[in-house]
């Protein structure tokens, strides 16, 4: 070997060291600087298994179970472990077609051959029994227990609501949810989701490359068990609810009953309705499509919260109370009724024939339009108190809204509407700034025109009158967790702007309505009922029949609003239904079976 080459040993040694350094630099990056590898390592070996808690139960006010859980099973498959499959036998067992089987296996395989995916979801307990016996023959398949919501009676579908799998939007908004979780989508299920759902638990298992379970991670140090959801005690009276739904058979409309002394909702009927069990489990999507496409009955539409009606004559009570408070109306104020209220130019607000002149309670008894046009005009044109029409109108509007009208009540159910008590700004825009007067908006006097009130607001108005001036925000859940606890959110009294002293004379009139007035057909011997009829003008068809009432007169136990769409006079349908409801609630029996029969059998939907 040539002498000149002997320094080459250093080149070689240097080369070795250089390459060694490159390896070390790479190690520094991979082991010390990069984080992605340790994350991937955890993803490789740790399987996070969610422990699903049982959802909270819902009881009615008498302790009857309304909503409970039933075991259901998801059939899972790990494609890699499926071996020697008797496809025909398996399809027969599950009850599917072979083409379906191939498609589902393909889908599962696409997701992962090592990880489980849902093959068939929500198998009922009955079918599970059969499947379970034979499942051992089909390696790669196993079942995961889940729960299904069940409703003990087919009532209060809108109120109970339903649950469904979360969609990607919900997951993005709330990190609690993972794909496949259930979430309340409407009704109580939605508004009390966080109480009902409980807390998911987590088990961390270590798996090998074939997804074989190698035991729990660090002896379960990071595991947590599921906490069951909290039970809810609803203020709903299941019996009353069912009776209301019966009375509303083949009618469109709603019934809302409230216990005035607490604001608890006793029943909330929206008709037409549907069986809540239709929106459970595997049949949910199919049935939901059918229900949502029913454009004639619109069964998914919760009329009690989301339908706005002009309150018609029932609104006269509010005008009377606001008029008294404004100092322009007194118990013995009398107005003559010449068959209507002239607006000038040959136009007038018509009135039916009755004797006169009437005082305040009598005006309620006979629902005189002329009387309330004058009352309304006297409020708006009260130039002693207010300089302008607008100022007076705003005072009136404030008084009206203090009864919980024209704004959301804040009840514990989703989807509630504001209703509409038009603002002065609205009339400014419609008629031109300051180009309107009392007579321009006179329809407000008798609860017609732009004004819109939901059945729940109407019932709350009734409760406010029954309480002589205040209300508790209506709510459907009276206790959370323990039956004897109180739903703390709803313990504040909301006072109207009208002093309690002004209510008695109005209530006097309401009693006369039933005793010998427009709603004489609602009269009962045993119970003193105070009510007011209403007929909401409906530009699209026959008028809506409305009746609000409460009973007993002293220490009222129930305040109720009934709206029957396209039924004509308030006295014809709504009043008898309301009286039946009250009789049912207060006495537990029906003394007028012929009235009940008429109401139940009448069909106001067909032919529309």
């Amino acid at each position: 070997m040539e002498r000149a080459d002997s320094n080459r040993r250093f080149f070689i040694a240097g080369f070795f060291i250089l390459i060694g350094l490159i390896l070390i630099m790479r190690l520094v990056y991979v082991q010390l600087l990069a984080d992605k590898y340790i994350l991937s390592a955890n993803n490789n070996v740790l399987r996070y298994i969610t422990q699903y808690p049982a959802r909270g139960l819902i009881f009615d006010r008498k302790g009857e179970l309304l909503v409970y859980n039933e075991a259901a099973y998801d059939l899972m498959v790990i494609p890699k472990q499926v071996k020697h499959l008797d496809t025909i036998g398996f399809c027969r067992l599950i009850g599917i077609e072979k083409a379906d089987f191939i498609e589902r296996m393909e889908k599962a395989r696409k997701y992962s051959v090592y990880r489980p995916s849902i093959f068939e979801s929500q198998i009922t307990r009955e079918s599970y029994g059969i499947i379970e016996e034979k499942l051992f023959r089909y390696p790669g398949f196993f079942v995961l227990p889940r729960t299904l919501r069940k409703y003990s009676a087919p009532i209060a579908a809108h109120t109970m609501g339903y649950i469904g799998e979360v969609n990607p939007d919900m997951i993005a908004k709330n990190p609690y949810y993972r794909s496949g979780d259930y979430i309340g989508i409407s009704g109580i299920e939605k508004s009390y989701e966080e109480v009902l759902r409980g807390k998911k638990g987590l088990k961390i298992r270590v798996v090998d490359v074939f997804n074989r379970d190698m035991g729990s991670f660090q002896d379960g140090k990071y595991d947590s068990s599921a906490v069951a959801g909290t039970n809810l005690y609803s203020s709903i009276d299941a019996e009353l609810q069912a009776y209301g739904e019966l009375l509303m058979t083949n009618k469109k409309g709603s019934i809302v009953a409230i216990e005035p002394s607490t604001g608890e909702i006793l029943c909330i009927v929206s008709s037409p309705s549907y069986d809540p069990n239709l929106l459970v489990g595997r049949v949910r999507n199919k049935n939901y499509n059918i229900l949502s496409k029913d454009s004639i009955n619109v069964p998914l539409f919760n009329r009690a919260l989301m339908a706005m009606y002009p309150p018609g004559s029932t609104f006269k009570l509010v005008n009377a109370l606001v008029g008294e408070q404004e100092g322009v109306l007194f118990p013995d104020t009398r107005y003559a009724c010449p068959g209507g209220f002239s607006l000038g130019g040959g136009k007038k607000v018509g009135c039916h024939s009755h004797w006169g002149p009437l005082n305040l309670p009598q005006s309620i008894q006979y629902s005189c339009n002329t009387y309330y046009c004058r009352v309304f005009k006297s409020i708006i044109d009260n130039r002693e108190k207010y300089r302008t029409t607008k100022e007076a109108y705003n005072a009136w509007r404030k008084g009206v809204m203090s009864f919980g009208l024209g704004k959301k009540l804040g009840i514990d159910l989703p989807g509630e509407l504001n209703g509409n008590i038009p603002s002065a700004g609205y009339y400014d825009r419609y008629h031109g700034k300051d180009r309107w007067r009392a007579l321009t908006v006179i329809s407000l006097a008798i609860g017609q025109g732009e004004i819109g009130i939901t059945p729940i607001q109407l019932a709350n108005l009734t409760a406010t009158i029954a309480n002589r001036g205040y209300y508790y925000t209506p709510h459907i859940i009276r206790a959370i967790g323990r039956a004897d606890s109180m739903n703390r959110q709803y313990l504040t009294r909301h006072y109207s702007n009208v002093a309690p002293a002004y209510f008695d004379i109005v209530i006097e009139g309401m009693q006369m309505v039933v005793d010998a007035g427009t709603a004489a057909n609602a009269k009962m011997d045993s119970i003193i009922l105070c009510g007011k009829t209403g007929t909401a003008q409906n530009p699209h068809g026959k008028n809506h029949s409305i009746f609000i009432c409460f009973a007993p007169k002293d220490h009222p136990k129930i305040a109720i609003s009934v709206v029957v769409e396209n039924a004509g006079w308030g006295s014809t349908w709504a009043a008898p239904i309301a009286s039946l409801m009250i009789e049912k609630y207060l006495t537990g029996k029906i003394t007028r079976p012929e009235v009940e029969k008429n109401m139940v059998e009448c069909n106001l939907i067909t032919g529309y």
Partner: protein, 405 residues
């Protein structure tokens, strides 16, 4: 050197235990498992060492060509009669154990190269010398290629280092080093642009020379050779490599991401090593390797177990041990008086070096996946014995360095 050898071998044994470890078989001496078998290989290797140390050191040089010839014959036989394991026909079934002649061929070739270069009338300037050496090295490599064991065949490239030490032209060596760089560039870049860049470099180089006509000719020749090489690489990639080899290279160059297919091994390997962090997860606590996410983790990917369980510190120690061993071999080789011993020492260093960088580089995603074992650490009798022979023949020579001339 013996000390480093022992440390690596025993450390390897423990890591194989960790890599194969499952709760069912907990005894490291259980010979039904790989670590048990490795223990037997190790014990047998010690016997081998004993035998070598008892032999007259002169016979290695005397029988060098014979050993080489026997290796070639066996390689030929194995091409036709070998056992096929995952696509390669490179195994011999002898009784209960499988031997891989390719591993031993390295020893034979090292002996033959040393013997030839230590010949009395060898001139490094003689083209006949180069031709003969090329044959000696290429013959076993080609036979191994025929067994479809590309990785082991590539190892023979390591002998270039020996040739460099023995007097190979330095420029040629530089060219050989630059060729892989050029090869990679030709795969990731547009070939025309690359050729243009090279032209620019050639012109600049020419302007810096004395601009004589023969400079121009040499530069032009090199330039044309380079461009030819670029196109050859591209052609070779498409037509000579097998699909899985193309995939591995594409994945490495980042032209493809295929974490479930060709990139799976390397990705899982990086995950295992990367998750070890500074101190590792502790012995037998590795999750990636223990639960079989890393394929071949007791043989070619044994370094993953080291990286995951012993962390950066452990990996560093292993790399330092190898470096130390290599530098030590060079140092010892330089003190040999016998030309044979000296060249043989470089053969040992070169082959070990190639194995170590390719293997660890592969687990770290630096070089394509080439299935060659990590010396002394990887599971496998053939490779352990071959490396033991390789190293201890040299140690034996060194012990007699004053008597061997």
């Amino acid at each position: 050197m013996t000390g480093i050898y022992l440390i690596l071998v025993i450390f390897g044994w423990f890591n194989i235990y960790a890599a194969v470890y499952d709760e069912g078989h907990t005894s490291i001496f259980d010979i039904s498992q790989r670590y048990g078998k490795q223990m037997i290989w190790i014990l047998a290797a010690f016997l081998l060492v004993l035998m070598i140390l008892l032999l007259n050191p002169k016979i290695f040089s005397q029988f060098a060509y014979l050993v080489y010839a026997v290796c070639l014959v066996i390689l030929v036989v194995v091409v036709f009669a070998g056992k096929e394991v995952s696509g390669s026909r490179s195994w011999f079934q002898v009784g209960g154990m499988a031997l891989q002649p390719a591993e031993f061929a390295k020893v034979g070739t090292a002996l033959a190269v040393s013997k030839y270069l230590s010949g009395q009338y060898i001139s490094m300037k003689d083209s006949k010398t180069w031709f003969s050496l090329a044959i000696i090295i290429a013959l076993p490599a080609i036979l191994i290629l025929l067994q479809k064991d590309t990785g082991s065949a590539l190892v023979f490239l390591a002998f270039v280092i020996v040739l460099y030490r023995a007097g190979l032209n330095g420029y040629l060596m530089l060219a050989l080093l630059l060729l892989p760089v050029l090869g990679i560039l030709s795969l990731v870049m547009n070939k025309l642009i690359l050729a243009g860049i090279l032209l620019g470099i050639a012109i600049i180089v020419y302007l810096y020379t004395k601009r004589r006509i023969h400079h121009l000719l040499v530069i032009a020749a090199i330039y044309l050779g380079s461009v030819g090489f670029i196109y050859f690489v591209d052609y070779g990639f498409d037509h000579l490599l097998r699909p899985h080899q193309q995939e591995r290279i594409s994945v490495l160059l980042g032209q493809k991401t295929d974490l479930k297919g060709a990139g799976y091994n390397v990705n899982q390997s990086l995950i295992a090593i990367g998750s070890g962090k500074l101190f590792g997860k502790g012995y037998l606590e590795g999750t990636q390797t223990k639960y079989n996410f890393v394929p071949e983790q007791s043989t070619d990917f044994i370094f993953c177990t080291v990286g995951e369980e012993w962390g950066f510190i452990g990996s560093l120690v292993v790399i330092f041990l190898y470096l130390w061993l290599l530098l030590r071999i060079i140092k010892v080789a330089e003190r040999q008086r016998s030309k044979f011993s000296k060249i043989y020492g470089y053969c040992v260093a070169s082959v070990l070096f190639f194995h170590v960088i390719i293997n660890i580089g592969m687990t770290l995603g630096l070089v394509p996946v080439i299935g060659i074992p990590l010396p002394f650490l990887s599971y496998g009798g053939s490779s352990l014995w071959a490396f033991t022979l390789l190293l201890f023949i040299f140690i034996r020579q060194d012990a007699y360095r004053y008597e061997l001339v």
